[in-house]
Structure formats: structure tokens, C-alpha cells
Symmetry: C3
Subunit: 201 residues, 3 copies
């Protein structure tokens, strides 16, 4: 079975950009595959002809959503290659409530080596969301709301790490620090590779 690393971050922190660039730079040595939890779940839904798009998944009953989440988890855990799993620590729902992105049984099955949280200052996150033309209808959250989401993300990440015993890495991705963020991501992947083989001095 391959090593699995969970990558999370609030929308606008730059998770996907940092993740993709780190993957490119480390590909030759470290050989990870990037997969998205949401996409895996959507594929399962579409294969079962349950829904046509991602938004429609939310209309499924909670029991069915849980069942699909669990099936996606089992599929991901069985992948033979090393995996960077793009997902969420805290999913912010329509009502402003947070839902933990991982349950105890998901954590146990996925058995991650690390959780990497990509983060940025509230002001930067807010600015990036405003500039995101792909989602023109998205409500722009206040600075305070983004700050709260960041705090809850960290608290969930620490709770997940405490439960599964895996590493927790927080990477700051502010303007002008993108290369540093990618370097830190790659360094973390290297550290995990070394730690797994027992040489981390």
C-alpha cells in the first residue's frame, strides 16, 4: 500500500496551486498521485447514476452521503501508489456550520502519514476570493468569518493528528512567498520519505 498524505486548506489559501507545483517539483524523486476526495465521491455517485453534478450530491440523504463517503475512503485507502489527498479539514456548510472532513473511521482506514494544511493571512484569502472569476456568485465572507474558519481548521487538523498519530504541517502561502511555500511542501514530503525509512536526523 502507498503512503497517503492529506492536504487541506480554506478556499483561497492556495492549496491546489501549492500542491500541484510541489507535486511537479518532487515528481521525479517521490512519485505521488494527486487525488481529490470530492471528485472521487462524485465519480462514485455518477457511476451509480445517483447525481449529475457535484452540487446535486448535497441533496442525497445523509445516510447515502455517508455510505458514498465511506466507499470513496475504502477505494482511496486501497490505492497501491503514494497519494496526496486533496480534501478539507472543516467543510463550511450553507448554514455557516462546520462539518469535519474526516471521521474517526475514515482516519483509521486512510492511516495518513501527515496532514498538510496550506494557510494564508485572512486579508490575502479574502482578496483571492474576490478575484476568483470562476465563482462570481460566491458570497465574500468577512475577515472575521475567514479567521474563524482558519481557527476551526487548525483545531480539527490537530484533533485528527492527535487521533491518528500522524504529522501535522502548516504551510503559509502569502503573496511573495509562493516559492517558499512550495519548498516547504517538498521538504515535508522528503522528510516523510526519510522518516518512513528510518533516517530523520
Amino acid at each position: 500500500m502507498g503512503k497517503l498524505i492529506i492536504v487541506a486548506g480554506v478556499p483561497g489559501a492556495g492549496k491546489s496551486t501549492v500542491l500541484t507545483e510541489a507535486w511537479k517539483r518532487s515528481e521525479k524523486d517521490l512519485k505521488y498521485t494527486i487525488i481529490s476526495f470530492g471528485t472521487e465521491m462524485l465519480n462514485l455517485c455518477q457511476a451509480a447514476e445517483l447525481v449529475k453534478n457535484r452540487d446535486a450530491m448535497r441533496n442525497l440523504s445523509p445516510d447515502l452521503q455517508e455510505e458514498l463517503q465511506w466507499r470513496a475512503t475504502k477505494q482511496i485507502a486501497e490505492r497501491p501508489e503514494n497519494t496526496l489527498l486533496d480534501t478539507h479539514c472543516a467543510i463550511k456548510t450553507g448554514s455557516g456550520s462546520y462539518l469535519p472532513g474526516l471521521t474517526p473511521r475514515m482516519l483509521e482506514r486512510l492511516s495518513p502519514k501527515a496532514i498538510i494544511l496550506v494557510d494564508a493571512h485572512e486579508a490575502e484569502i479574502r482578496g483571492r476570493r474576490k478575484l476568483d472569476k470562476s465563482r462570481p456568485l460566491r458570497t465574500i465572507e468577512s475577515y472575521e468569518d475567514i479567521s474563524e474558519h482558519k481557527v476551526i481548521n487548525r483545531a480539527y487538523a490537530a484533533a485528527f493528528s492527535a487521533r491518528s498519530g500522524c504529522l501535522l504541517r502548516i504551510i503559509q502561502n502569502n503573496t511573495g512567498e509562493f516559492d517558499k511555500a512550495v519548498d516547504e511542501f517538498v521538504e515535508t514530503l522528503k522528510y516523510i520519505a526519510q522518516a518512513s525509512s528510518g533516517a530523520t536526523a
Copy 2:
């Protein structure tokens, strides 16, 4: 079995006021009963003729307190109606230590749909405590101590939510925002009602 929602918040955040008003506004549609964990435990103590008042409960042995806490939990979990359970994430003891208000087995038995944390700025909480004539002897904690309690409350709330997989909602209840706080509380109750029936788009 009814749906159970845990409502918590540091003293002075306005938990009871927001909770009671949200209950009034939502009563016609949502039908919740408010119960207080402390009162349930006290009732059990008094029925067993163990103590005469709430303060005396603290003099019981830890084993007996735990036994009573567990009996209260089982009673609450068996209630057939929907319940808003007024309790604490972090109980601040006389020594300045925090005690988690919920244990893993309590969480498992209660199986809450959500934890709603009513919060406010440190300065507001401090001001409200000063004005609380019902507790003239209470020591007024410093801004820093209140801030620490708020941080620990959130961390426990996230740990509880991560363990039980339930929603976590934080509601700000600052001066001039009471109606907004109540609206958000009611919206969260509606969201939970919809989510349970599988329609949250």
C-alpha cells in the same frame, strides 16, 4: 429518538438568552425542548437524597460524580423529543483548570447532530459579568483569562465534533447583534432539520 443539539458558551456569552429566544421563534416549526445538563444532574442527586443544592454536588467523590453524569447522559439520550442541551464545552474549575464537559462515551451515547457555541468578544463578556447582579461574589476574570477560556472552548468543541462527526456552529452575540445571533441560531436549527431529511442544497 429525538434529535439532540448541544449548546455551549462561556459565562457571559449570552448562551441562555440566545437559546431561549431562538427556541421561542422556532417553536412552531421545529419543536425542541431545552434542558440543562447541570439541572438534570442536580435532579438525580436530589432524588437520591445525595445533596441539597448545586454547589454541594462538587463535594461528592469523583466516582460518584462520574456515575451521576453518566446516569444523566443516559436519561437525556433516551428522550423521545428533539432536545437543545444547555451545557459546557470547558468547565472552569476553582483551580483555574478546565474540565471537558463531554467525555467520549457521553458523546457516543448522546450522538448530537450539532454543537452550537455562543460566543462574544472578551470585552463584552467581561462587561456582562460585571453587571450580573445575581452573582455579586464572582471574581471578574481578566481579559486574558477570558480569551484563554474562549480558545479552549473552541478547541474542545472541535475535538468533540471531530470525534462524533457532528456539525459545529459558532455564533457571535455582541452588543447590537442579538437579533442576528438568534436568526443564525434558528437558521442552524432549520439546516439541521433539512439535512436530516436529506435536502440541504
Copy 3:
């Protein structure tokens, strides 16, 4: 079996100084023994002729490290006397990642009565590290990095406390407040002694 209390804090918070002074002041009444988790593990390593010094422990395979950690845990849990266990909530590794200092099974076996976190302002921690002549080669972390470590320490501490149901006490140890910090530590030990015997009013 004796009572066990976990004492943690980031390097530079003054954990050992506060711990030692509190132990001296409370010794007559409370009778605790101070032990360090790291030293216990090192002793096991050296007894098994696996390593010569603490740094070399990191070169052991993860499986062997885990085995030694578990053996140290079992030894500590079997101590008949009251124990103040000097250890870490979040261990900061070379890669900048955090590793939780306690796993669920360690917590279950140790069954601590409390976690005491010794803390200080970021600026103070940074200053103390700069003045620490015993470790001249240590990289001095930025204010932001120390702040992050403090946040993660608290989040782990809350997750550990939520899991094991034990008390959590945070003690501030800033310049000019050393005596207050020691007093609070001793008060917490007294509170735990009283709580265990069932009289905490």
C-alpha cells in the same frame, strides 16, 4: 498506582524551571516524582545498546521508535508513586512538522489526572531561546513560528484532555510572574489531590 500529571510547554516557556520549583514547594505535602519521557526512552535505548545519545534515537526506524515509546509508557504507567511527567504536546520536527507527543493508546495507559501546559508570550520565548547558551546552534524561530507552535500545543492539549477526560491547566510564565506561575502550579496539584479525594468545593 500513583497519580500521573503530564507537564508540557514549548522550549523557552520555562516548563522545567516552573516544574522543579513547584515540586520543591509542594514536596512535603504532595510527594511527586519528576520524570522526563525523553530520558526514560533514552534509558531504554541505552540499556538495549541501540543508541549512545538522544539525537541518535531519531535515526531508529519508526517501528522501533514506536516500540520504545510504548515500552517507556508502560514502565511509567506502572510506577507506584505520584509522577509529574515532563513531555511534549507537539514535538516540532526538523521539517517544521508537528508530531503529537501522546497517542490514544499512550493516553489510555497513562490515564493522566491533568495536563499542565506552561506557556509564555512569543516575544519572551524568543528572547529566552536567544539567551540559551547551552544550545548555541539552535535556529531562532520567528515570532510567527513560535505563535503557531503555541496554538498547535493548545489544540493537541485540548484534544488529549477531551479524549482522556482529564483536567487541562494553562499557566503563564512571563517575566516578573515566576512566583505566580509556581503558585498556580502548586494550587493545581493541591486541587487535583482534593478532587481525587472528593472535596473540591
